[in-house]
Amino acid sequence: MSTTAAPTPTPPAERVAITAAPAPRRHARPPIRAIYRWELRKLWAQKRTYLGLGSAIIIPVIFVVSLMVQHGGPDGVPFGRYVRQTGLAIPPVLLLFSSIWLLPLIVSLVAGDIVANEDGNGTLKTILTRSVDRQQIWLAKMLAAFTYALLALVLFAGVGLLLGGLRYGLHPLTSLSGTRIGVGRALLLMVASLGAYAMPLFALASIALLLSTVTRNSAAAVVGALMASLIMQLLGVISGLDFLKPYLLSTQFDAWQGLLRTPADWAPIVRSAWVSACYALPALAIGLTTFLRRDVTGG
């Protein structure tokens, strides 16, 4: 005690016997899947989630409609010349366009907000005084952000494939090596391509999650993650910095194209895996460590 102005009565032993009590029984911690499920339900209840997913749906619609009302293009992009021959060519072209800003924006919108929003609303203190440990909360948020990123990607490519298939039919796809790929195999390669595309997308989500944790500010985290993506795009087009290009996250968004060659070129996929990990793992480690150690003062 620092200063005690009046005598503090010492409770007699009899009173201690009455007033002390055994510690409450220990509870089992809820499993992380329960927390993850609630993170998804929270995302599901927020408007910004629909804003991102809505964009992932509406952009392919606009793209297919523009193909229907125009005759030329898109020129100069892989698979561009086949978009009116088979619906299978639509998702690859969409992925090429979307890697510049659309999918990074959609992913940043949620991953950059998922921790900072709780800080801003003061709900972090609410959930951190329940029976869950901090690492459980953070890992559940990470899984939710990754799930959202994957859902946006699948929706984006899926809507493109669906509309392209409806308009132009599903016919064999001409690979980047000029060989014909049957519809079944092309669909499988499409799924694998989305998996390859998801790697740098998860890395970007990890950076957004880190910024969300560190800045405690949704806008700063969303804009920061998007800026990081755009800066890497910019570095990738500066000829004097070519040596950097293989190690930029933006370059890894093109790695999936290796799967659509005959034979498949795995080198960019492997590179994308470790380069994406080099961005994601430190970001996740720093984000988690920060979250575990930080003072929760908001709200």
């Binding site: 016997a17 509870h27 339900r41 609410t126 329940r130 029976s131």
Partner: protein
Amino acid sequence: MSAVASAPHPIEARGLVKRYDQLTAVDHVDLTVEAGTVYGYLGPNGAGKTTSIRMLLGLITPDEGTARLFGRDPLVEGAAALDGVAGFVEAPRFYPYLSARRNLELMAALDGGDAGDRIDDALATVDLTEREDDKVKGYSHGMRQRLGIAAALLRDPRLLLLDEPTTGLDPAGMRDMRQLVRRLAADGITVLLSSHLMTEVEELCDRLAIVRSGRVIYEGGLTDLLRSTGQRYRLRTTDDRRALAVAREQPGVEDPVQRADGLAFAADETVAGELSVALVEAGVAILALVPAAASLEELFFRLTEGDGLPA
């Protein structure tokens, strides 16, 4: 001593310190809250009450000292240290885009066990059953405070930490909240009630700590505090000016002051009797001489604004 007697206290904090740059928000605070008590943590705004509670709950890390809840340190044991503990810091916060019931379902999921089975009872206890499906963004401040209590009750707590639970409530809301705290305490729940409202602490608490500028300046029983200033009297006479002069001359009469409604002074019973005789001898008729214990409010201001209690 029995096994029960050796059990740890619900709250035991030793030498808690929290600094923010040059400001020491909490300065070597010791707290011991015994089971079954309603413990008041009283201080003006900015005294460090909320920071102390955040440290108790493991939300912020103390620069020095330790905090244990039922013998468990939240910084060491994490969420396991909060088993049997519930409450809220500052205003309780919920997800505005979810209904009250959905919010409680989320809290119950994070609590695990059978917390979900208590949702209906918790909503009924705080009288929110009829509004349970409304989104929290449409709730008034008072309803959110009540929902905060409901969320705490899901944990079937043995210790409740309530940070200014009546702040911002209208008089009826304050009355209801105090009745609720009283009811929970009657059920055997230990309560730490942070407040800057003297009447609230006086009405609800058995023991209290008074904090000023991050330091505990009094810790003990409420009745001990009220008694510690000695007996005071109020006196009304036919001539208060003359009576004041007589009181000043009377041995044993301390701190005589003239107020709008008469005189006030401190003295023991014998001295008060001697003063009444002296007044009559001086030709001053006594209209009223009544014992008046110092209010907690009076003591609070003496402690937090003055130099402390008289020795």
